[in-house]
Symmetry: C2
Subunit: 390 residues, 2 copies
């Protein structure tokens, strides 16, 4: 009985820290989202004073698609959506027109300067990137000097299970995010640590280090990792313009040397891969053209030729051809392209394929359904990582 | 001109991913919070359809304290608060009664199952835990086997600047969070990596490893780090009851051996410290009583004697005295107590002091203003870490 008193007393600590929150907690908790056994999902929000609550989810199609939640007598808004296939989903509420996260769901994912509530519907997709009872790698949040960018910068480094104890040397995948993202994107949205853990546990992928940098050359780190709040202007930060080649140069001049000095790395081209999505795909194309001797494996995800120029905004048709000749001469082991049928860069990816076909350069190609989205990029990483370092 | 077109085109990628968000971004961005040069803070929310918007911040005192934002003709709600002293602040909005994060502020901190928007007012406090141009340590997110708890569990490990290159062996601080928290708390809310970076750079603290575990023995990891959403019931998860000693046993039996196998560690009591806040302070007291031979440095933050029993829910007065005799015999180098004048456990901390005084046991004591809050715990870590391993 005394033990129970003590526990009750200590639990009160949590409650007394924030009275408003304590009041909310003493009410019967709201469960949202609730994933039923038939994969129907119920969303709930207690909002007696609100007029309207709407739901926006990344599974909805069409501009401005929303579902209206219905209010009951106790002021609870609720909507149940039809069964959703297995996937990691993000959503927000709109409460009387204000974009709101779900206060009943502690799990938030950040995409650049936007935050969304997240849930998963278990099944084939989450089998790729769920947390399972397999050996787990380590995720390191590391700062490194970038003399070419004049910044000390933050990056994430995944080391595979067994890395610490191993006396071996590991291959490295440099994995690049898209516009609006940062060094956290491939971890939180891309689920890279979980994908690699699962692929390595099943023997599909070789144990490898994965390096996830911040692809915006004007930024030291993601919002929140520096004391200054990142300006929320909808415009790229100064120095972050794509296509300058500054970030790509820093990969070769700063990142690779740092990684090969600080980690147990097999430091040769046959043990280096680079892959990127969208802006990161463009950065990968820059590296194929300018540093093919550094990598044996290339992955171009949701990207293609832009304005008839392959990678780097200033690449002329001439330079592009020179880049391809250089790439051919370096005899890469894999050049991989992945794109969704509904991707707004689909035609650009086809232009890239035509350019490579016309010039008798071999590549692998994966075409999926869907568009320019993380569900595709998680699949592409799951398909691509097993092809590296074999 | 072509280069500009390309950049504009690529920026559109970000916008086209989510139409609702794209619409929001095309509007003139809302700046919130805006910290003026006089440290007045303006909060803004665009909410033409909302009736009321209120602000709750952790700097406000009194139960249910809120500030109402005023609506202008364009539907923008706004409030300016008087200058706030330097600190890391968290806040939420209430939009027609619904608890909402600030959609204009990308920076969210999670405290257990609650999320809040965050900002910092620069000055003396943020000098302790801001990101400055000093060498940075690495934060590792690591999984380890806990055979005593029957779980594979996640923890955070800070390694100091220079750790990777060093051939030396480092002392270790085991740093324990409070009720409602998890392995992320001392990093995100406690700013441990930044505090240690800054203390080490100024020569105030010795380079040390800091191990931040999940103190809830029934949990494998924080919400979001496992596929199952943590139940939001306001009750501790099954097996998470405080005072069972299960977590404390796992520190000694699982965590310390894992750390000393996996890291470059000086593996003796003079190179081990343990400190904890609130529930973590109670866990520290358990360790002083039961494993004093394992540590030379103890920090009890915002905790004291509960119900006349020191640490561990089943500790009788007899056992407590036996524990103290054992602790005395082990001749610890530091026993440190920190508490705020307004802490609801202030009297308990005084009971602990009286018990130690009555029994002629030396300790150091820091009394601050304020209560049972992170602003105090960040100060306590800043004061305490320099005292370790000297």
């Amino acid at each position: 009985m005394k033990k129970l008193n003590l526990i009750v007393c200590l639990m009160l600590m949590v409650f007394t820290i924030n009275t408003a929150s304590a009041q909310a907690r003493r009410q019967r908790p709201v469960i949202s989202p609730e994933i039923k056994s038939d994969s129907k999902i119920t969303f709930r929000l207690m909002a007696p004073e609100a007029k309207t609550v709407k739901l926006t989810g990344n599974w909805m199609t069409g501009a401005g698609a929303q579902i209206e939640l219905m209010k009951n007598d106790s002021g609870m808004f609720q909507a149940t959506v039809e069964p959703l296939p297995s996937e990691m989903y993000t959503y927000t509420f709109s409460v009387d027109g204000v974009r709101t996260l779900d206060p009943s769901n502690p799990i938030i994912v950040r995409d650049g300067t936007r935050n969304e509530s997240m849930f998963m519907v278990p099944g084939d997709k989450t089998n790729l990137y769920g947390v399972f009872d397999v050996p787990h790698g380590t995720l390191e949040i590391v700062w490194y000097p970038s003399s070419s960018l004049g910044l000390t910068r933050q990056m994430y480094v995944y080391t595979p299970p067994g890395y610490k104890e191993s006396t071996g040397k590991f291959p490295v995948l440099y994995l690049l995010h898209g516009a609006g993202g940062d060094e956290d994107a491939w971890t939180t949205l891309g689920r890279t640590p979980q994908i690699l853990d699962n692929l390595i546990a099943s023997g599909k992928a070789k144990p490898m280090i994965v390096v996830m940098t911040n692809g915006n050359p004007g930024d030291a780190a993601a919002p929140g990792a520096t004391p200054a709040k990142k300006a929320v202007t909808g415009q790229p930060a100064q120095g972050n313009a794509m296509g300058s080649g500054r970030f790509e140069e820093s990969i070769v001049k700063d990142v690779i040397p740092f990684i090969e000095k600080s980690y147990k790395v097999a430091a040769d081209k046959n043990n280096r891969a680079v892959a990127g999505l969208s802006m990161g795909g463009m950065q990968t194309l820059y590296l194929t053209n300018n540093y093919p001797e550094k990598f044996s494996y290339f992955g171009v995800l949701s990207m293609g030729l832009m304005d008839n120029r392959q990678g780097g905004a200033n690449t002329s048709a001439d330079d592009r051809m020179k880049g391809l000749e250089k790439l051919k001469a370096s005899q890469p082991k894999l050049y991989w392209i992945g794109i969704g049928k509904d991707d707004f860069l689909y035609a650009n990816a086809q232009s890239l394929r035509k350019f490579l076909d016309d010039n008798k350069f071999k590549y692998e190609y994966l075409e999926t359904t869907g568009g320019h989205t993380w569900p595709n990029w998680r699949i592409y990483l799951s398909e691509l990582a097993p092809k590296f370092f074999k």
